[in-house]
């Protein structure tokens, strides 16, 4: 039975040879089959002669290595540990090479249910692992599925390797869907929001393109890159003696700021009466929080953390994020480190008719910015935000530049200025001591309420993980930032910021990517995940169960896309009509989603819906036990809106 298809293929060839010279030009079975009508093929063998080998035998098997194997070698050379992917035929060759030639280890194939989840996993993974993982997406359609997650990666300056399948040679495509899944220029689909893309012409070209892509993705400003993996290149047999090589990756350092500019910045900062440090997408490594603390302490200056990364330890006495607006307002020098949106840091634009704008800073305030954000902007999407002038603009990776800035400040610091700084620091510490007390007082409001307050939910989680090694992998602005206010966050992996691009559906898969990176460290990953976000890609729960990725999802189930609820409410009130109708199209009720059952259906331990506050703590405790065994768990908490 197994030979039957082979016989038929030979018959195709035999029939094709009889059909005319145009068929004789074809070199593969696929094309012949495409261009040969059924009438040329006998329904079944007619005579013994039909079993004779054709004059030009169709090659049925490969006997050595194939292009996909070489591609695996390329990925191994870059120390890529995982490839997340929803399968697609345009990369079947590479997939087979990963699982058989590479024995599904470094890289390991991580099966996802949606290409958006593949890339969002890579997004979260990179921020915890400190290096990119790869994804494979199906030609055209898979790439389009993944595009929103690629955009989030780009906005967040997170490295990711996206490999998109393609059948580049039209004469090699099977008719029908293979054409629909191929393109002359796949890069154009995502070129507005990748750092670089490449469509290689041959395997050697691919190797050099992949290594270049990795190099670019991991050099600040980091970002996603996309390389096309051509199906013919994946499937071609590598003849013995073929010379292919994999370039060695540059051991590239991140760009450091100009010493002269840093000296100028140091002068301004030391002379300032009220310097303020604003940290954005600053931390990349464990050095990030360490150097930021050193900078704050040498200046005795407050830090206002915009929380795009884990920057300033949350309970450090110079972390004054809690009164950030007041700090910026009274500053005479603002130092912004890798700001995501410098204009927004320094200006308010109120959501009122006419969008009135006013500066947050006083006239005459000096602005220093260190970062690489503006070095990689694209013309179309507005993620680069409004232009904001700075008095001293310094191009350079802020984390790598900070030791040099600290050194310049120490050199500039006189005993008199040091006294001023110490006096300032004492006042700041006294003010900072009140933050925790204020947070506790506010957390107590609605403590026993149902739906459960986001403060209570956060405190209950913290109580269970405070003695563990952990990462809080989700964005928590929609929980009124309670984890930042109630938890002690110190290590560079304790948080990782949000999507930045604002594409909903980021949290659940990005947190799973973080959990994948944490797996080898035995860390507990917690995601306090909005219900609307989780429903964008609920299949991540299956991926978590299938690959036994330990993670605790706490569903912040406010049964709405609550931000949008507030927006529509605002419009109704502004237009003075139907103020009781803003729920239409913004709520996720009737029926309520049963997340525990959803999770169970995909093999994930779950509890809920929980709507009594006293039940939350014990539920989390039980779930943490599951996570410690190396499995995912989910708790559905019916929660307050914010």
């Amino acid at each position: 039975m197994a030979r039957t298809p082979d016989i038929k293929r030979r018959q195709f060839l035999a029939g094709a040879a009889a059909a005319g010279p145009i068929i004789g030009l074809a070199s593969t079975t696929k094309v012949v089959a495409a261009e040969t009508p059924a009438r040329a093929v006998p329904a079944k063998p007619q005579t013994a002669g039909d079993f004779n080998p054709p004059q030009e035998a169709q090659k049925l098997v490969t006997s050595g290595r194939v292009g996909g194997d070489f591609m695996v070698d390329c990925l191994k050379s870059l120390n890529v540990d995982y490839v997340a992917s929803t399968p697609g035929s345009t990369f079947r060759g590479l997939q087979e090479s990963i699982i058989n030639y590479g024995m599904n280890s470094k890289p390991e194939f991580i099966t996802t249910i949606h290409e958006e989840a593949s890339v969002a996993m890579a997004h979260g993974y990179a921020k915890i692992a400190g290096k990119p993982m790869a994804t494979m997406v199906h030609g055209v359609v898979g790439l389009q599925h993944s595009s929103m997650a690629i955009y989030n990666c780009f906005c967040d300056q997170a490295p990711a390797i996206i490999m998109a399948g393609n059948v580049g040679n039209g004469t090699q495509r099977r008719p029908g869907v293979e054409w629909a899944h191929s393109a002359h220029d796949q890069g154009i689909i995502v070129r507005d929001y990748v750092k670089w893309d490449d469509q290689a012409n041959n395997l050697q070209d691919f190797a050099e393109g992949l290594v270049r892509a990795y190099d670019l993705a991991t050099t600040t400003p980091m970002g996603p890159v996309m390389v096309v993996i051509d199906a013919d290149q994946q499937e071609e047999e590598l003849e013995p003696g073929r010379k292919l090589f994999i370039p060695k990756l540059h051991q590239r350092t991140q760009p450091v700021a100009d010493p002269g500019a840093l000296a100028e910045a140091a002068k301004l900062l030391v002379a300032a009466e009220n310097p303020v440090i604003v940290s954005g997408r600053y931390t990349r490594t464990e050095n990030g929080p360490k150097h930021l603390v050193q900078l704050a302490e040498v200046l005795q200056a407050p830090v206002v953390d915009e929380r795009n990364r884990m920057n300033m330890p949350s309970r450090h006495p110079l972390n004054h994020t809690e009164r950030g607006a007041a700090m910026v307002r009274q500053a005479d020098v603002v130092l912004a480190l890798e700001p995501m949106d410098l204009y927004g840091t320094l200006n308010n634009v109120d959501d009122l008719i006419g969008r009135p704008a006013k500066p947050k800073i006083r006239p005459g305030t000096k602005v220093i910015v260190i970062g690489t954000t503006d070095l990689n902007i694209k013309p179309n999407m507005g993620e680069y935000e409004r232009y904001q002038a700075a008095d001293v603009g310094i191009a350079g990776d802020a984390e790598n530049s900070l030791p040099w800035l600290i050194q310049a400040i120490e050199k500039e610091m006189t005993p008199a200025r040091k006294s001023v700084a110490m006096a300032r620091g004492e006042k700041l510490k006294a003010a900072g001591a009140k933050f925790l007390q204020a947070a506790d007082e506010q957390a107590a409001l609605g403590w026993d309420a149902s739906p459960i307050s986001t403060a209570r939910m956060s405190a209950e989680v913290w109580n269970q993980i405070k003695n563990e090694d952990w990462t809080m992998a989700s964005e928590v602005g929609f929980l009124s930032n309670w984890p930042y206010r109630l938890w002690s966050m110190e290590k560079h992996y304790h948080t990782m910021g949000g999507s930045t691009g604002g594409g909903v559906g980021y949290n659940a898969p990005a947190a799973l990517g973080a959990a994948l990176a944490n797996k080898e460290h035995g860390r507990i990953t917690v995601a306090m995940n909005g219900d609307g976000d989780l429903m964008m890609s609920p299949g991540v729960l299956w991926t978590a169960a299938h690959h036994k990725i330990p993670i605790l999802y706490i569903v912040h189930n406010n049964r709405a896309w609550h931000q949008e609820y507030m927006h529509v409410q605002r419009m109704a009130e502004r237009n003075q009509r139907g103020i009781d109708r803003a729920w239409i199209g913004t709520t996720i009720k009737d029926p309520n989603i049963d997340f525990a059952t959803l999770a169970k259906s995909m093999g994930v331990y779950s509890q809920g819906p929980i709507d009594h506050p006293a039940d939350v703590g014990p539920a989390i405790q039980r779930a943490i036990g599951v996570v410690k065994r190396g499995e995912p768990a989910l708790i559905d908490v019916v929660s307050q809106p914010r």
């Binding site: 308010n348 959501d351 506790d440 026993d448 309420a449 405190a459 209950e460 109630l486 931000q563 009509r577």
Partner: protein
Amino acid sequence: MITRVWSYAAAALLVSAIASPVAFAQDTPRGNTANGKKLFETIGCFECHGYAGQGGNAGPKLIDPPAYPAFIVQLRTPRNVMPPFTAKVLSDQQAADIYAYISTFPKPPDPKAIPLLQN
């Protein structure tokens, strides 16, 4: 999809705007708490202030509310990013009902008595 979150700073401004050192108890109209609850949970109050009036990063707490005149001024002509509830969409009686309801929000427990907040 997500736009700028209403800022905590704006919320703080709202607190200062509606807080008043003067008591206006004699000016407080009689309100229907049951109707106030229904309104609170349908016309958007809970969205920023929470079902329990606990507040959050979208709006300040309403537990222990300011005196009624300050409340009604803020409701009708807010001084910050809070959207206005004009008389065209919310009558004076309805406003009084809401005020009656938010005045029933229980005072929070002492945070020092909550073990989870000692971490």
